[in-house]
Symmetry: C2
């Protein structure tokens, strides 16, 4: 079934997914807040930050929320997490959301201070869509999807809507699995950046592939513990939105969070490292939110704690490494094992 | 407690672990079958294939099994899997195994045709150590361990021996966790090479990081299904010996199995690819064994099947990719979910 879809946010990921949807024959409108970006996307059919994307001719691009929303049965939320609440409020206040519309969330992150998932923010700001929000997540570097490289993701939410989300996006090179665990799927994507910073720090310290694989593995162990305390299902973290996204984010040399970590591992302060970068590294904010969440839910997160201390409390990277290696090595699954019993 | 230990096999991994043990103050003898390798290791205290290793002066190196075994309370089995049974038989026939000795297995692989784990082969050939075998596994590229790079592994087996294995090897940069699931720990290391070949094929076909992360994630899903049917515990595959070793093996550009896959992905035949390589790629043999095992235990393994067909039935790599992408995408954890219920 061909749908009328509004993609809220014309950044790399929003524009890429709009393109996937348009190629699948859906009637797509892309709304972008930054007028210059919207204009460029509308006329040049491309994004300066994403070489390789060629936006489908059928996709409408606009800077006008009402124009984007009117008559659309599906909204794809693709705004950066720090602007999500304000944008969703504007969406509500536009009064243009069609009755019965539902939402696919592709924004990754936890809201600072409230520590809420993006889906919760969506349901709070758009009460009309309550219970009708799905999540699409997985190892999906936008550039590769834009180039048509094979990619596997997972759509999670209420069974019928998860299936509809799957049908919307499914394409030859874009395989979509389904999951009933929206909380777990969403949480994996929100926390992974902290481990990307950790792997970057390891790179900066000159550590090798053994150490990075161990960081990812023990990171996954932490993710399961915090994610299940947060309401997700443990098994979900072993899927595309958990370990899959973790692997791609930690491995990619182009990841902003990994790059930030590398600078810190080499001895730069966070201020110096950030000053050298042109784009925001969400890991700095995530590390704080995830650290707060771990404290709130009383879950031990050694790697998150060290990354937090490096980023926010001036802890030298080498000390963080020493702290981690000095911890007693117990039964590998001592804490996670209990979750699956 | 300082122990007298014989390391059977002076290849990269055996010599590296002998060095870890010697640095921990244990009295170590390394036995190596190839006389030239033994002589070089004895006199130059190094291996030609492993830059960075400097064997501790206290370690004895010998080509004589009796000399290596006499009075040693611990045997570390570090011979290549294809020579394991014959070597262990020679160990038994030497009559030099000390009463009460126990074994740490670090050889990875499944025995062709019998489809047995190395620990089973050890217990069959050395009935005297039955019930006293542990396994040490995890993401551990020998070169990095030899250089003292931080590495995390897991020691599995009967509780008391797993703890003793942990104490033997534990060092500042070599952290050893414990696990009660020797079958699962051993199986992860035995099957991972097939996925390294798969990731290499993906590289050869020009696929990106999304596809490789997806291959590892769906590969992990297969590992859990086959590994639990084989007698391991599902949770183990989410640890260092499962996903950890999988990540390091699939990511390392130097992995022989990944390199072999890359050549095949670029269109070479297996024969051509192997002719270009100086070292054996175990993945060719593993793919066959794991494929046989999956059939025997009636477990669906789409990635293993495609790799097997590429390596042993002349299937073109591009066709394998098409087959995988054409599979229906169901609930992500449809099969694995049941294992954890």
């Amino acid at each position: 079934m061909k749908e009328k879809i509004a993609v809220i946010g014309g950044g790399s990921w929003g524009a890429t997914l709009a393109n996937v949807l348009a190629h699948n024959g859906h009637e797509v409108a892309v709304w972008e807040f930054v007028r210059e970006v919207a204009d460029h996307l509308k006329t040049a059919r491309s994004l300066k930050v994403l070489p390789g994307l060629k936006l489908h001719p059928s996709a409408l691009v606009t800077n006008d929320l009402k124009e984007a929303l009117q008559g659309r049965s599906v909204l794809v939320c693709a705004v950066p997490s720090e602007y999500a609440r304000a944008t969703l409020r504007a969406v509500r206040e536009s009064g243009a959301v069609a009755p019965g519309a539902w939402v696919v969330n592709v924004t990754k992150g936890i809201e600072p201070d409230t520590l809420k998932r993006m889906s919760e923010v969506i349901e709070e700001e758009l009460p009309a869509v309550k219970g009708r929000v799905t999540v699409l997540s997985g190892p999906s570097i936008a550039k590769e999807v834009a180039q048509g490289q094979p990619t596997l993701v997972v759509a999670a939410g209420p069974a019928e809507l998860a299936k509809r989300t799957q049908s919307l996006f499914l394409a030859d090179s874009f395989r979509v699995y389904t999951s009933a665990d929206a909380v777990g799927v969403e949480f994996g994507g929100a926390i992974k950046n902290v481990y990307a910073v950790a792997c970057g720090i390891a790179d900066g310290l000159g550590l090798g592939d053994n150490a990075k694989a161990a960081l990812m593995t023990r990171g996954l162990n932490e993710m399961v513990r915090l994610g299940t305390a947060y309401g997700g299902q443990g098994i979900t973290f072993f899927g595309l939105s958990g370990v899959g996204d973790l692997i791609v984010t930690c491995s990619s040399p182009h990841s902003r969070n990994r790059t930030l970590g590398e600078k810190i591992g080499k001895g730069k302060t966070v201020k110096e490292a950030l000053a050298e970068m042109t784009m925001v590294a969400e890991g700095v904010i995530s590390a704080k939110s995830v650290h707060q969440l771990a404290k709130k839910l009383d879950v031990e997160m050694p790697i998150v704690t060290e990354v937090y201390q490096c980023l926010h409390e001036g802890q030298p990277a080498r000390q963080a490494l020493k702290d981690l290696l000095r911890r007693p090595a117990e039964d590998e699954m001592a804490q996670v094992g209990r979750i699956f019993k």
